[in-house]
Amino acid sequence: MKIRELIRKRLDSAFNVFNREGVQIPSTQVRSEYQAIRQYLLDHHSEAHDCIAIKQHKDYRYFLTMLACMEIGIPYIPMKYDYPIDRVEQIKEASDFTLLIDDTKVAELISYTGKNKTQFPDVTPDRNLYIIFTSGSTGRPKGVIIQRQALENFFTFMDEAFPKVNEQDKLLQVTEFTFDISLVDVALFLNRNVILHFSNFENNIFKLGFEIETHRISVLNTVPNNLNMFLSELVAERMDYQCLKHLYIGGARFSYGLYEKCQKYFKPEVEVYNFYGPTEATVYCHVNKITYDEKKDCIEGNVSIGKPLPGVDAHIVLDGQLAEANVRGELYIGGIQLMREYIRNPEQTSAALVSFNGQTYYRSGDLAFRSEQNDFYIVGRADDTIKYRGFRINLLDIDSYITRIPYIQDSVTIAIPNEATENQTIGFLILKENKTVKEIKKDLSAVLLDYQIPEKVIFIDKYPVNVSGKVCKKTLKAQYLESLNKA
């Protein structure tokens, strides 16, 4: 169904919405606020050049503002309420948005009583629907433009793939709207009429657990890190998970460790889905339902991301050629969910969108392989693949093998280019117990091929991390090179 019809159908029928304070907003109030926001936008901001920035606390009015933009056909840009002024200005410069709706503005709009226009503009499937800004490598945000047809394809999939989810289900809306995986929540509300609870957990994992228990939440769409945390022993022992029935997990890698936790804590009737997809390919483009049968779900510790969604075309490409089954290469994504472009950024657009076999594909930068059954597996980042003594090796892959040795807590392998072997590999290990380099190399030879074993092994207490908490290999490399210079 087209998005405009879908929104009208849902808001015209019965639905349930609870705000972030846990209070139910009567559907008559939701409808009247929605109609006022929509009418204001229709009257004043529905020309072809219009574009709306939304910068509010994540709550039902943010959601209504998004829906109004979607229904009318005005592209919108989601922002967090606390974005610094610099970032807002960068986005303004890149997009020329014509109106910013913050908490104050939306509180005004819900009382709007004007009515200048009744005719909705015509919208074509290729009209821009939203622009999500991601952090670009140059420090300037990149605006990913997604068209209506792309999200409509994803919404259709969400409607058809989860028929068991229905109006009895309670969904806790946890993800910021700046993160496109939040559109899974929107889809489940519009298509499956779930009861919508806006979360206010503010990164307090105990609060998230409390909200799940208190509201008896049955549907949760979140990132692996959140699931990992509330399946950590300290949280898990105080939580009752019995109410959870459908878990939609994506936005980052579903690790084998998380897979094991799901096996430990969830009964097989709890449906866990591992989703995959870059923002450039609209929310998600692959999905795998966890069967809890390791042989079906995993290959060599990689949890399957499943098959491409209908309308999505995915290939593994190695050295400019299609790779055979089980051969690792870069994941290329094409099809209807592909972004239009990065806004006003032809250089980065042409680097990301490439022509392959006569079609346009997005180069995901992810290293992956597919099985004979066409199930896909993400192994790491293609950037982490290097040549060493003529062999192609992936550093993340090596780390995943190394950490299977019980006394090794963590491993980060980096490569320093050199002439003799193309690269020198150095493994930085955090150990759980004291071992010598000799003992470790002997144990590594049991899990790795000789050219995969890091040439040099260095013990470390902790890794340098970046602002998002991820290990910063660049800093690690710089620290290592500096230590060589000092020596």
């Binding site: 990164n203 307090n204 409390f210």
Partner: protein, 81 residues
């Protein structure tokens, strides 16, 4: 045990968990004030406090904590039980 003593202990725990030996902690300090105080380190801080005072907090109690002052109040409540 008075609040000042508990504050001192919590400060030590937070300095260790967050790896910030010079961190200043007051009753008003909250996760919003310290970048390193995220979901993961929050779990570690709670675990260390429970171990130190041999108490156990329920999910409902933990979810309501807004700052260090609330945490001290909760510890006092548990200790006087």
């Amino acid at each position: 045990m008075n609040n000042a003593e508990i504050l001192l202990t919590i400060t030590g725990i937070m300095q260790e968990v967050l790896e910030l030996p010079d961190l200043k902690v007051t009753l008003e300090t909250s996760a919003a004030d310290v970048d390193e105080w995220d979901s993961m380190t929050h779990i570690q801080i709670i675990s260390a406090i429970e171990g130190k005072y041999r108490v156990r907090f329920a999910l409902g109690e933990l979810q309501a904590l807004k700052n260090v002052g609330d945490m001290i109040g909760l510890i006092q409540k548990k200790l006087t039980k």
